[in-house]
């Protein structure tokens, strides 16, 4: 063979690319969730895997079906639908009837994700939006915590968060250590702070997420609850209980950092995290609805794009002074224009 026979690709610069694509990233997040899934099974029994399975299967099905119907290229290979399904199931109680996640999956995948163009284009977190929808539509099923294996009497089946924010706040009947490990009633994937933190550390090490959102969000919740406290309880205890309960850890590490719905700039992410923290606390204190984190994230989702615009990073070679000078110049120009207009 003589070399002349070859035809060559024009190719795109750069000619090499990192091994990691969307699919590998999604897989990493799924891996990071596995410890929490394991704790869920430990706490709610193997039966709790049924809603997980239907959730994943229906998410993948809806994603595939919608794209097929719309004659768009299939996107189930990127595993994002699997992840959405898993995340959705993790925010539901362990004893959810098997058909509930299917409704949630339809809402998440079709209405929240695909209608806006699929991965990367939706502005609400699909799993959380699905959860919020289910909570609003099937309230009684969604707060039925009796599936918890540790439930022996009526008292222990109230979630710690509900106890904290009851009309007469009491310290949860469950010890802080048990809460940390995940021995408490709650949603399937939310209970174990330890398992979720493990997953978070994994994601940080793999550079799937950056520290900005989780750290700023946790810090905000911690500071606010420490300052404001609540009736009679030691402020530090109050803060720790708040951090450990109500899906805050799952929401902050896995939902708030969702790519499509969070800002991309570092400063934007910090503001976003603080916003979620503030809203979570506000909703918990004043909303009469303890699961404030879900709504806090959904509200901040809507601001993500705006935050990106607001926090354009300073380019290489541009100093703070340059930015200030530019702003001053722009202001002066505006003023001049105004004056010119005023003077006719």
């Amino acid at each position: 063979m003589t070399p002349k026979e070859y035809t060559f690709d024009a190719g795109y610069q750069p000619q090499v690319r990192a091994r990691r694509g969307t699919r590998e990233i999604m897989l990493d997040v799924i891996i990071a969730l596995l410890p929490a899934v394991a704790v869920g099974v430990w706490q709610f029994g193997f039966a709790a895997l049924i809603p997980v399975a239907t959730s994943i299967a229906s998410c993948v099905f809806f994603e595939w079906g919608y794209r097929k119907l719309m004659k768009k290229p299939s996107s189930i290979g990127d595993l994002s639908a699997v992840l959405t399904g898993l995340l959705l199931a993790m925010t539901l109680p362990g004893n959810t009837p098997w058909w509930i996640p299917i409704i949630g999956a339809f809402f998440s995948i079709v209405l929240v994700k695909q209608l806006y163009g699929g991965i990367g284009k939706n502005f609400l977190n699909p799993a959380l939006a699905g959860r919020a929808f289910l909570f609003a539509s099937y309230a009684t099923i969604m707060v039925n915590w009796n599936g918890w294996l540790g439930s022996v009497d009526a008292v222990s089946t109230a979630t710690p968060l509900a106890q904290l924010y009851a009309a007469e706040p009491t310290a949860p009947t469950i010890s802080m250590l048990d809460m940390f490990l995940g021995k408490m009633p709650g949603c399937f994937g939310e209970v174990s702070t330890l398992a979720l933190l493990l997953g978070g550390v994994y994601l940080l090490c793999r550079k799937v997420i950056t520290w900005h959102i989780p750290v700023s969000c946790f810090a905000t919740v911690a500071v606010l609850t420490l300052i404001f406290g609540n009736g009679g309880m030691n402020h530090v205890d109050w803060m720790l209980y708040n951090l450990l309960s109500g899906g805050l850890v799952l929401g902050t590490i896995f939902m708030a950092t969702d790519y499509s719905t969070s800002p991309v700039t570092a400063r934007g992410r910090i503001i976003y995290g603080i916003g979620i923290g503030v809203l979570t606390v506000v909703i918990r204190y004043f909303g009469g609805y303890p699961e404030g984190n879900t709504f806090a994230i959904l509200i901040m989702n809507c601001c993500a794009w705006f935050l990106d615009q607001l926090t354009q990073p300073r380019q290489f070679g541009v100093t703070r002074e340059d930015v200030k000078a530019k702003k001053a110049a722009a202001k002066a120009a505006k003023k001049e224009a105004k004056e010119a207009a005023a003077n006719g």
Partner: protein, 450 residues
């Protein structure tokens, strides 16, 4: 201590500096393009039928931004005609039949002891020897140094060689350390400075140790070991690493008092001044999965790629791409009859194995591109507005300040053609500017008419 810069990536380096340097026997026919630099192309000084010697000047242009071209072999000129240029297009070239004797040309004598300390003599020699930026930019070196006189207070030699695969600079350091230091000294004298900094990535520790053992301070050179991170060798980032100065957007290195020249350029300066040999040879790397063995080679300019492939034992797999330079910033050749030129630091023959493009590139809004962009730009938005051809927004997101390093595309999990789009965007901007200028001129003419 070198300073850090934002972003950057750690590509799979795949370097093989332990492959010894082979000397590629010049081919029976060399094709010397008359454009091997940025600036005015050369006019041939010879005619068909002329006998030439190795190192004889065969192309020249009086313009300040230009560099003469010398014959890489001795022999007979058999044609002067457009031939495939490595960067596409047909460009006039002098085709020389090699007589295999390598009879040297004596036009350039080694500089005398006195001249070696004379700024002007060195600068004239650098120009005469046709030395250009051999890292790939191919900017005429003499013009670069002259342009910086009075403005530049720091001379930086770029020894990062941060591109994967390439070993040419590393091997030059290992094989010619003393010559290299002397070359840097000459560049320093030519720039009228007391000190030069030689930034080398720490993955070349053997070279750093070797150079340090030769007392670089005698030559007014300080070796600065640098963090291993692509694109450490980018001009702006090299300056940042060594001086902590940041070149302003749209600015030039001289604007912050720096000049950066590459390792092999410094070596070429040594050869031109001490040995009287002009620039027609360089060390390069040939690699990629399409050829059996990677080769580090000293190779004359004007050697056709097809001949080089033969020298590497031919193809073992169907090649899909020929990359000139490193894989991150390298350009694509589409014709194996094209030849290597002064700025060719590597020739990579890639198959499907290296390819990781996908059918539906989709942005997942992950922000990885922001994390890695050394210019702190926002590639995802630049891309978005590029697709809409929204020029105003593109400018707002500073497309024109992209250094085309490729980090964002490299890391993008959605596999978007980011860097490629920005290059295209810059061309579109240039076209638009030209159109506007033409329109303004036409309007001015009309006004004059009235």
């Amino acid at each position: 201590m070198p300073f850090k810069f934002h972003g950057g990536v750690h590509p799979d380096y795949k370097k093989a500096p332990d492959v010894p340097v082979t000397f590629i026997t010049p081919p029976p026919q060399v094709v010397v393009p008359m454009a091997q630099h940025i600036g005015a192309p050369c006019k041939p000084l010879v005619a068909v039928g002329d006998q030439v010697t190795m190192g004889q000047k065969i192309g020249e242009n009086e313009a300040p931004v230009s560099a003469p071209i010398h014959s890489p072999v001795s022999g007979k000129v058999i044609a002067i005609e457009p031939r495939p240029h490595p960067l596409g297009d047909m460009i006039p070239a002098v085709v020389i039949e090699n007589d295999g004797l390598d009879t040297p040309c004596t036009d350039l004598a080694p500089l005398t002891e006195e001249e070696l300390n004379d700024q002007d003599a060195i600068l004239i020699r650098i120009r005469e020897a046709g030395i250009v930026g051999m890292g790939g930019a191919m900017f005429p070196t003499a013009f670069k140094i002259r342009g910086g006189l009075g403005k530049v207070d720091t001379l930086i030699i770029n020894g990062a060689e941060c591109e994967p695969y390439l070993n040419g600079d590393h091997l030059t350091m290992l094989n010619h350390p003393e010559e290299l230091l002397k070359g840097i000294q000459l560049a320093r004298i030519a720039s009228g400075l007391d000190k030069a900094y030689y930034g080398i990535e720490k993955n070349k520790q053997d070279a750093i140790d070797l150079l340090n053992s030769l007392h670089p301070e005698q030559y007014g050179v300080e070796i600065v070991p640098e963090e291993v991170k692509y694109p450490q060798g980018g001009e702006k980032l090299q300056i940042k690493a060594i001086t902590n100065r940041e070149v302003k957007p749209g600015g030039l290195p001289a604007g912050v008092g720096c000049n950066v020249i590459s390792t092999q350029t410094a070596y070429a300066i040594y050869r031109a001044c001490y040995e009287g040999v002009p620039c027609f040879e360089r060390t390069l790397t040939m690699a990629g999965s399409a050829i059996a063995h990677p080769v580090n080679a000293v190779c004359r300019v004007g050697t056709p790629f097809s001949y080089l492939v033969e020298q590497c034992g031919g193809f073992v797999k169907e090649p899909k791409k020929v990359v000139l330079g490193g894989p991150m910033m390298g350009l694509i050749a589409t014709n194996l009859e094209a030849v290597n030129i002064k700025g060719t630091a590597g020739i990579l023959f890639f198959t499907e194995e290296e390819d990781r493009t996908v059918e539906n590139p989709t942005c997942i809004h992950c922000g990885q591109c922001l994390t890695v962009c050394p210019m702190k730009l926002e590639p995802l938005y630049m891309y978005k507005y590029f697709q809409k051809r929204d020029f105003e927004k593109m400018q707002q997101y500073h497309v024109l300040d992209c250094i085309e390093c490729g980090c964002c595309s490299y890391n993008c999990p959605g596999r978007l053609p980011l860097t490629h789009s920005f290059k295209t965007a810059k061309i579109l901007f240039a076209v638009r500017a030209a159109e506007e200028k033409a329109r303004a001129e036409a309007a001015a003419k009309e006004a004059e008419h009235k």
